[in-house]
C-alpha cells in the first residue's frame, strides 16, 4: 500500500490538480463568452447572424490540432497577439498552464454558445417586452428575465464544456507543450506514460480519469435537477 501511494497516487495528484485548474478556468472563460455570444446570436435582428454562428461553431468541428496551430501562430512569441501580450504585460502563453486553459477554453466555447443560443431563443419574448414596458433597461432585462429563464440550457452546455475541457489534448499539446508539473494534464500524462512504456502508471491514470469524469457527470445530473425548472 505505501508503495502504491508513493509510486502511483502521489505523482498523479500533480496532473490531476493541474487538470482541474485548467479545465475550471477554461470553463469559466467559455461560459462568459459563450453566454454573451449565444445571447447575441439569439437576437433575430442581429446582422450576419448565421455567419457568426458558423464561426462560433468552428472550434467544435475543426481538428484540435488545427486550433492548436492557429493559437500557436497567434499567441507564439512571434505571433501578433503573442508579441502584444509580451510587450504590454510581459506574459507569454506558450508552455504555461494559462496557455493550456486558453486552448481548452476555445474548444469548449462552442458547447456553451450553442446551448445558450437555443436556450435564449426558447425564452418567451413577451416576457422580455413586458419587463421593458415596466421600465427595465436592457441589462436588467437580460439579468433578471432572459438569463434566469435560459439558465437550465446554459448550465447543461457548461457541464459539457467542462467535460470537453478536461479531456482536451491536441490543442493543449501544441500551445502549452507537455511539461510535467507545469502543463501536463491528465490526458497528456497518460500519453507520456504510454509512450515511455510505464503501463502501470498509464492504467492508473486512465482509471483515475474515468472516476473523475463519472463523479463529474453524477454531480452535474444532481445540479441540473436542483436548478429551477422553466
Amino acid at each position: 500500500m505505501p508503495e502504491f501511494l508513493s509510486e502511483l497516487l502521489l505523482p498523479a495528484l500533480v496532473p490531476l490538480g493541474l487538470t482541474l485548474k485548467v479545465s475550471l478556468t477554461a470553463t469559466a472563460g467559455a461560459c462568459l463568452f459563450g453566454i454573451a455570444a449565444g445571447f447575441a446570436l439569439s437576437r433575430r435582428n442581429m446582422p450576419g447572424r448565421e455567419l457568426l454562428d458558423a464561426l462560433c461553431t468552428l472550434p467544435l468541428v475543426l481538428p484540435p490540432t488545427v486550433i492548436g496551430y492557429y493559437l500557436l501562430v497567434l499567441f507564439g512569441r512571434r505571433g501578433v497577439l503573442g508579441l502584444w501580450l509580451q510587450e504590454t504585460f510581459g506574459v507569454s502563453l506558450v508552455f504555461t498552464w494559462q496557455g493550456a486553459a486558453l486552448a481548452a477554453c476555445v474548444v469548449a466555447f462552442p458547447l456553451v454558445c450553442k446551448a445558450a443560443r437555443t436556450a435564449f431563443e426558447g425564452v418567451d419574448q413577451n416576457l422580455e417586452h413586458a419587463a421593458r414596458s415596466l421600465g427595465a433597461c436592457e441589462g436588467s432585462v437580460f439579468l433578471r428575465v432572459s438569463l434566469p429563464l435560459a439558465w437550465r440550457g446554459v448550465l447543461s452546455g457548461t457541464m459539457l464544456a467542462l467535460a470537453r475541457a478536461m479531456g482536451e489534448f491536441g490543442a493543449t499539446l501544441m500551445l502549452a507543450g507537455n511539461l510535467p508539473g507545469r502543463t501536463q494534464t491528465l490526458s497528456l500524462a497518460i500519453y507520456d506514460a504510454v509512450q515511455a512504456g510505464r503501463d502501470n502508471e498509464a492504467m492508473f491514470l486512465v482509471v483515475l480519469t474515468s472516476l473523475v469524469c463519472i463523479l463529474l457527470l453524477l454531480a452535474s445530473g444532481k445540479f441540473l435537477k436542483l436548478s429551477p425548472q422553466t
Binding site: R77, V194, G197
Partner: protein, 250 residues
C-alpha cells in the same frame, strides 16, 4: 430494400478502402531525425525495386519501440541510439543478425537565428536571460538522452532543470527553436542543418557514447525487401544520400 443495398454498398466500399498495407508495402519505423534523409532514400530505393512501396513511420525511437512491442507490423527499425535497439533485440523484436550501425550523428546546442542573448557556449545557459531550454524527453528521445549525458558530464544537468521544455521527439524540439518559442535547444547536428538559416549553432557538445544509429530487420518481417533496404542504406549510394543530409559514416 434499396436502402439496404445502399447501406451494404457503402459498407463494402469502406472495407475495401480500409484494407491495410498491401503486399508490396515495406513499413520502416525510423527515428524522427532521419525524416528528410529517409524521404529521399526511399524514393531511390523504390525506383530500383519496382512494385515496392516504402511506408515510413517516423517518431521518437523509444515511442517506435513501444509500438513494435504492442505488435505494430514493422519490417525495418532504425533508431537514433544503441540503447533503444538493445532493448528491441533483448525483447526479440529485431533479427540480431541483420543489425548494423549505418550512420553517425553529433549533438549541438542551437539558438534561434535572431536570438539576442549572445550565447557562446553551454556554460552560458546558466544566465538568467535564458528562460527556456528545449530538449527531447530523455525517457523516449535519444537526442534527449545524449543531452542529459552531456549536461551531466559538465555538471549542469540539475542546475538547469527549471528551464527544461521537453519535446516528444527531436523534430518537435527543433520546431520550438525555429518558431523562437525557446531560447536554446539541443538537437542533432543533422536537425540543425535541416533548419538552415532559421537557427544558429552555438557549439557541438561532447558526448561519452558516440551517436551511432543502428538499423535492423524486424523479426516479424517476412519480406526479402526488408534486408534489401538495409543493404541499400549501407551501400555507397545509400551512404551518399544520407551524407547529403549531414549524416556521417559510422
Amino acid at each position: 430494400m434499396r436502402k439496404l443495398k445502399c447501406v451494404l454498398g457503402t459498407l463494402a466500399l469502406t472495407l475495401l478502402l480500409a484494407v491495410p498495407a498491401h503486399a508490396g508495402d515495406l513499413i520502416v519505423s525510423a527515428a524522427a531525425s532521419l525524416t528528410n534523409a529517409f524521404d529521399v532514400a526511399k524514393k531511390t530505393f523504390e525506383a530500383a525495386h519496382p512494385g515496392v512501396t516504402v511506408v515510413s513511420n517516423y517518431g521518437a525511437s523509444g515511442a517506435l519501440l513501444k509500438q513494435m512491442e504492442s505488435g505494430a507490423p514493422v519490417d525495418v527499425f532504425a533508431s537514433a541510439d544503441q540503447k533503444t535497439m538493445d532493448q528491441a533485440a533483448a525483447k526479440g523484436l529485431v533479427d540480431k543478425a541483420t543489425r548494423r550501425d549505418f550512420v553517425r550523428n553529433g549533438l549541438v546546442l542551437i539558438v534561434p537565428a535572431d536570438s539576442k542573448l549572445g550565447l557562446k557556449s553551454a556554460a552560458d545557459l546558466a544566465q538568467p536571460g535564458v528562460v527556456r531550454i528545449a530538449l527531447g524527453n530523455p525517457e523516449i528521445v535519444p537526442a534527449g538522452r545524449y543531452t542529459k549525458e552531456a549536461l551531466e558530464m559538465s555538471g549542469q544537468w540539475s542546475d538547469l532543470t527549471k528551464k527544461y521544455i521537453l519535446g516528444n521527439n527531436v523534430r518537435q524540439v527543433l520546431d520550438y527553436v525555429t518558431r523562437g518559442e525557446v531560447d536554446a535547444a539541443f538537437v542533432f547536428s543533422t536537425d540543425a542543418m535541416q533548419a538552415g538559416s532559421k537557427v544558429r549553432v552555438v557549439m557541438e557538445m561532447a558526448i561519452r557514447t558516440p551517436a551511432l544509429y543502428p538499423i535492423a530487420v524486424a523479426s516479424s518481417s517476412k519480406k526479402p525487401e526488408a534486408k534489401a533496404f538495409v543493404d541499400f542504406l549501407l551501400s555507397a549510394e545509400g551512404q551518399r544520400i544520407l551524407g547529403t543530409f549531414g549524416f556521417k559514416k559510422p
